[in-house]
């Protein structure tokens, strides 16, 4: 509809002067009526610009024509005709431009309206989606929080259980050891060699179980009895460990090569435990008859943030097959019989727990040239986690 209006207007605007001229020639009328003709055309123009449709315009044109009807033809000149024609053309052009503008404006508006509606719908749907997502996330967070709390509680329970069980297990065990000790001391002459052998074996088993419980306890203490992470000099700690192991190192004739170790933020007691376990392993797992050799080194990687501390304990012992390299850090995982290498199979599990409590990790690789290379990666600085109250917790004895 709007598209056709400019064309009708153009037609009317162009046709009007011809109508006027034809009418003027056809009928002789009063020449004094010319101003009326002009004002008539002006009225049509104003009406057009004011927004009248083609129907009303035609009515106006008709009225103008009727007015001209009574104008005498002698007053018609070519100048007058040209003026009228120009007026008509201008009128048509204005109309055309105006309609185009209106058209474009309307198109723009409907376009905009459409886009606004579209965006509103989109927004509404994305709002709904967001709300749904937010609700889902909230639920997930709530679930996670409660799961975390449950996990924490069950962890704590487990640790309490481990500690209590270990203490309670120690009690009867201590009696077994004491009484077999008494039996051995005071009545061994009443036993035959076989009897003494049995007694020695049961005493030995009780001893092993004591060690097992001790190790289990120290495993559970890594988290329950952890201390805040403070700056510690690993070189100093290593010196302490080596002095503890002095006899053992001297007895085995082992060579221990030590590089300067960095300072890091850590739990000093646990670092000592970690280094001790790794060095004891390095001393222990050598082929029969071989002299143990251990290399301890460490450095802080400067580029990383937080600075990463690499600790390495290498040996040229029997090494660890690749397929066992994850397993050895699990509890009670032993690769050798008790006759070959003694131990409870907890030492490396403790090492891993210590590394993890410090936000780090431990792994083992093959040392170039044979043997094992234990690598501990610890972040240099980190916010210490809240340490559980260790001020006084009664233990069962």
């Amino acid at each position: 509809m709007t598209r056709r209006r400019p064309r009708i207007a153009l037609l009317l605007g162009l046709a009007l002067p011809f109508v006027v001229v034809v009418l003027r020639h056809a009928y002789e009328a009063n020449p004094q009526q010319t101003p009326f003709l002009h004002s008539g055309i002006l009225v049509i123009a104003v009406a057009w610009l004011g927004g009248l449709g083609p129907g009303l315009l035609a009515t106006f044109s008709h009225l103008v024509a009727v007015g001209i009807w009574i104008v005498p033809p002698s007053t018609v000149s070519w100048t007058g005709f040209a003026l009228v024609f120009l007026q008509g053309a201008l009128l048509a052009c204005f109309g055309e431009a105006r309609l185009r503008a209106v058209d474009r404006w309307e198109r723009l508006r409907s376009d905009l309206e459409g886009r606004v509606a579209e965006r509103t719908a989109e927004l509404a749907s994305s709002n709904i989606r967001l709300e749904k997502e937010a609700a889902e996330r909230e639920r997930a967070i709530a679930e996670l929080t409660s799961a975390g709390r449950l996990l924490q509680a069950s962890n704590r329970e487990l640790e309490t259980f481990a500690s209590v069980a270990s203490h309670d297990l120690q009690e009867p065990l201590r009696k077994i050891r004491t009484f077999s000790d008494r039996l051995m001391q005071r009545h061994s002459e009443n036993l035959d060699p076989e009897g003494r052998d049995y007694l020695a074996r049961s005493a030995n088993a009780a001893e092993r179980m004591t060690q097992l419980i001790e190790d289990l306890l120290s495993y559970s203490r890594v988290t329950t009895h952890g201390r805040p992470l403070l700056p510690v000099d690993l070189s100093e700690i290593l010196a302490g460990v080596l002095s503890d192991l002095e006899t053992r190192i001297a007895d085995s004739g082992a060579k221990v090569h030590v590089d300067p170790l960095p300072q890091i933020e850590a739990d000093a007691a646990q670092m000592r435990h970690l280094l001790q376990n790794l060095i004891v392993n390095a001393l222990k797992f050598v082929a029969p008859g071989q002299t143990p050799e251990v290399w301890v080194s460490g450095r802080v990687e400067k580029g990383s943030d937080p600075p990463l501390c690499h600790l390495e304990v290498a040996d040229h012992g029997i090494g660890i097959e690749e397929r066992h390299r994850d397993k050895i850090f699990q509890m009670f995982q032993r690769l050798h019989g008790r006759e070959a290498y003694e131990g409870t199979g907890i030492g490396l599990a403790i090492c891993r727990k210590i590394a993890e409590r410090h936000g780090g990790e431990i792994h083992v690789a093959e040392r170039p040239g044979g043997g094992s290379l234990f690598v501990v990666n610890l972040p240099g600085k980190r916010k210490p986690d809240p340490v559980e109250d260790v001020s006084y917790a009664p233990s069962l004895s």
């Binding site: 203490h167 000790d181 917790a393 069962l396």
Partner: protein
């Protein structure tokens, strides 16, 4: 040769009869010949000292020379007993040696905090236990002067 006092009584408070037996034997083998009186928990110990409950007929006990106190006992455990002993003006001077299987730092620290005079972790090897009891006897009944030897100084 240090002077060895044999009159002062040792009170042993331990709920476990086997532990009491072992302590008794270790004391005997360690040549600590003082009279030994055994109770099974903290409540009994305090009752005995005050002459209450089943010790009412006997009246208040003479001040012992030494108390050997286990930490984990039913009814009234060693910690609570130690606290009450050291808060009582009439009893706080009696030397108390905590004799426990525990080697936990918290137990040791807490015992001294409460005013315990020594803390011994019971050795699992009997010979070591005998050695410990021998030293204990020498120390408390040969070397130190105990409060029960001091006459004429009222408690308080």
């Amino acid at each position: 040769m240090p002077r060895v006092s044999l009159e002062a009584t040792i009170i042993l408070a331990d709920d476990d009869p086997e532990d009491r037996m072992l302590t008794r034997q270790a004391l005997a083998e360690g040549e600590v010949a003082n009279p030994l009186f055994e109770v099974a928990d903290g409540e009994e110990l305090l009752d005995y000292l005050a002459g209450r409950g089943r010790f009412e007929a006997a009246g208040p006990a003479p001040q012992p020379g030494l108390i050997l106190l286990d930490l984990n006992m039913p009814k009234k455990d060693g910690r609570q007993t130690l606290l009450e002993l050291k808060q009582d003006p009439a009893l706080r001077r009696i030397p108390v040696v905590v004799l426990s299987t525990s080697a936990a730092a918290a137990d040791i620290a807490h015992s001294y905090d409460l005013g315990g005079n020594s803390f011994i972790t019971k050795p699992a090897i009997f010979d070591d236990f005998v050695q410990a009891m021998r030293c204990l006897g020498r120390y408390w009944f040969g070397i130190v002067r105990r409060p029960d030897e001091v006459v004429g100084h009222e408690a308080g």
